[in-house]
Amino acid sequence: MTTSMSARSSTSTESHAFTRELSIQEAINEGLQEEMARDDCVFVMGEDVGLYGGHQQVTEGLYERFGASRVIDTPISEGQIAMTAVGAAMLGMRPIAEIQHIDFITLALDGIVNHATLPYGWGGQVQVPLVIRTKDGSHTLGLQHAKSLEAWLVHIPGLKVVQPSTPADAKGLIKAAVRDPNPVIFIEHKLTYRSRGPVPEGDITVPIGVADVKRSGRDVTVIATSKMVPEALAAAEFLATEGISVEVIDPRTLVPLDIDTISESVAKTGRLVVTHEAWTRGGFGAEVVAAVVERGVELHAAPLRICGANVPPPFSPALQRISIPNRERLVEQIRRIADDSSTSRNAPTS
């Protein structure tokens, strides 16, 4: 199931001599440790990242190993966190700045939108090799701590945006993000830190800008990000028992988007579904649909967005549960779009 159809995927477990299981939190932590050991210019800054080891322990152990000069506990000053990180990056440091919840990125946007993009505005005179780590996702925290705002960042030219869904992708992408000379927004999900998966040993990066076919299929292409990846895989597993073959693709990088892998898949299946927790309207999924349709890929059904309800995240579990997509909704809606294609499209037509 994890074998890739695309030659570009690098998370196949067969290709590495030894893997072990790590959680997403452990995987990112290991990636940070390796990058900080490899390059003295790399440093971490954010609220509670140092002595406390991070809100979800992602930066655990870094302060003890690398010291206060490279692991900086900041005041509650998201504007300054972003601007200071941009300024330090312009002078050759490699900051990994944390915004504790993506909802607070509102306070950091001047740095990210108006200043991290200055390599273009200054005609290439500086680089901004910055990583901003943050977490998104809806659960028990209510409106101001439950949003998914990747669409805002996807919209800004000059940024790269990555959103890993597995421990292997998380470790490989955080290493790649640190080494990338451009500003990279690295989006984690608040509920998947303890999800476990195989992670290859050693200094292995996952390339930014390359999608991963997480499950091959023939009938429907599902583009899923973050926590919707395991949901989509679960839905695909269930639908297989009904004879519906679902291909699940995890873009991993939202910008620059691997539109080739996605388009090839839709050309094969003729059916496109996009799914993310973030609001449907103006979401990343809308960009994927537009990008595929523009390529003139032949579609046998209208594209489908199975994404967040266009409401601020409600608190009560009765409402929160229905405000974001899940595997049951995916099964129900994919079944409808796949309606008359439960037989292989490769079957003879006469």
């Binding site: 000069s69 200055l118 200054w122 005179q125």
Partner: protein
């Protein structure tokens, strides 16, 4: 005693700043420049005086009224003027314009988000401390910027970490049409330094030698890790905000004229003559040089080529 060479250099730079700015304003009014020109007359002493006390590898982060900052720090004049005209040979290849001038080899950055200069200068200071490079960064900003959140967050963070940053507030009395008396809760912005446990200074922003004395007297301690400082330079914006300002007369004529009598260039000339480090002829000759340097740079910029359309996507991303 001021080193005569330093004083002469400052005089030339202040004249050059005035000449370039005045000429560009005229060209803009004749519709020959694409973007706005921000009027700088009367505020030359602060940027030039402060930068005269810095080292070449120190950094300044300027704002939308940066002529004296840029020229004071030693910007590539032709590259600067080419950029203001949006030409391919501009410092930013035509991508930035007047409000975003940067000349990294000369330690010059600009942000046109009010308060942005403080945020960037703080980041530069953090890198300078981490690199133990012995450099300082200087943020130039107006009294309007002292009311932004990033002012508060930057000074607080810099103070906590003893960053080598000099925050220089040019209080010229006006944030576009808004008088400082209606925007700023204290008459002297320098008092805000005490909120962060750092030193605050007030200086006559129309006296280049006083500005130079203050910065040269404080920069070494900042460089050595004593922590950031806040300087408030009192001045006045005798012109309108920019060539886009409706100039509805909100500034009032009397106050403007009283400040014009305190013109910083005329004042430095008087001081240099009294100190006997320059004659009237020397100073006239310097003024004439600055005028011809300004005119030559502008003439050359007018002839230079615009960027090609194929350059639109250049420098969007850096390759590894």
């Amino acid at each position: 005693m001021i080193d005569p060479k330093t004083a002469h250099d400052m005089y030339y730079k202040m004249c050059l700043s005035r000449e370039v700015n005045d000429e560009l304003v005229k060209l803009k009014e004749a519709d020959e420049i694409w973007g706005p020109i921000h009027l700088n007359a009367g505020q030359e002493a602060i940027g030039v005086g402060a930068c005269a006390a810095l080292q070449p590898d120190d950094f300044i982060v300027s704002n939308h009224r940066g002529y004296a900052h840029w020229i004071g720090k030693g910007i590539d004049l032709q590259g600067m003027v080419d950029e203001i005209f949006g030409k391919a040979s501009g410092l930013c290849k035509g991508k930035g314009g007047e409000m975003l001038l940067a000349d990294i080899p000369h330690g010059i950055m600009t942000s046109s988000i009010v308060g942005g200069s403080l945020g960037l200068a703080t980041g530069l200071g953090l890198a300078m401390k981490m690199q133990a490079s012995g450099r300082v960064s200087v943020a130039f900003f107006g009294e309007g910027a002292s009311n932004t959140g990033i002012f508060h967050e930057s000074l607080n963070f810099a103070a906590l970490h003893n960053l080598p940053v000099i925050y220089i507030c040019e209080n010229n009395g006006w944030a576009l049409s808004t008088s400082a008396s209606v925007s700023t809760s204290v008459p002297d912005i320098a008092v805000r330094a005490s909120s962060y446990g750092i030193r605050g200074y007030v200086v006559d922003g129309n006296d280049a030698l006083e500005v130079y004395d203050l910065v040269s007297g404080t920069v070494e301690a900042v460089r050595a890790g004593a922590g950031p400082i806040l300087i408030e330079a009192k001045t006045y914006r005798v012109g309108s905000f920019s060539t886009n300002d409706r100039a509805s007369g909100y500034q009032g004529t009397e106050l403007t004229k009283r400040w014009m009598a305190k013109d910083p260039i005329a004042r430095l000339a008087t001081q240099m003559k009294l100190l006997e480090i320059a004659s009237a002829d020397d100073l006239n000759s310097t003024l004439a040089s600055s005028r011809s340097d300004a005119q030559n740079a502008i003439a050359s910029a007018q002839e230079a080529d615009y960027p090609k359309e194929t350059e639109l996507y250049d420098d969007l991303y850096v390759s590894a």
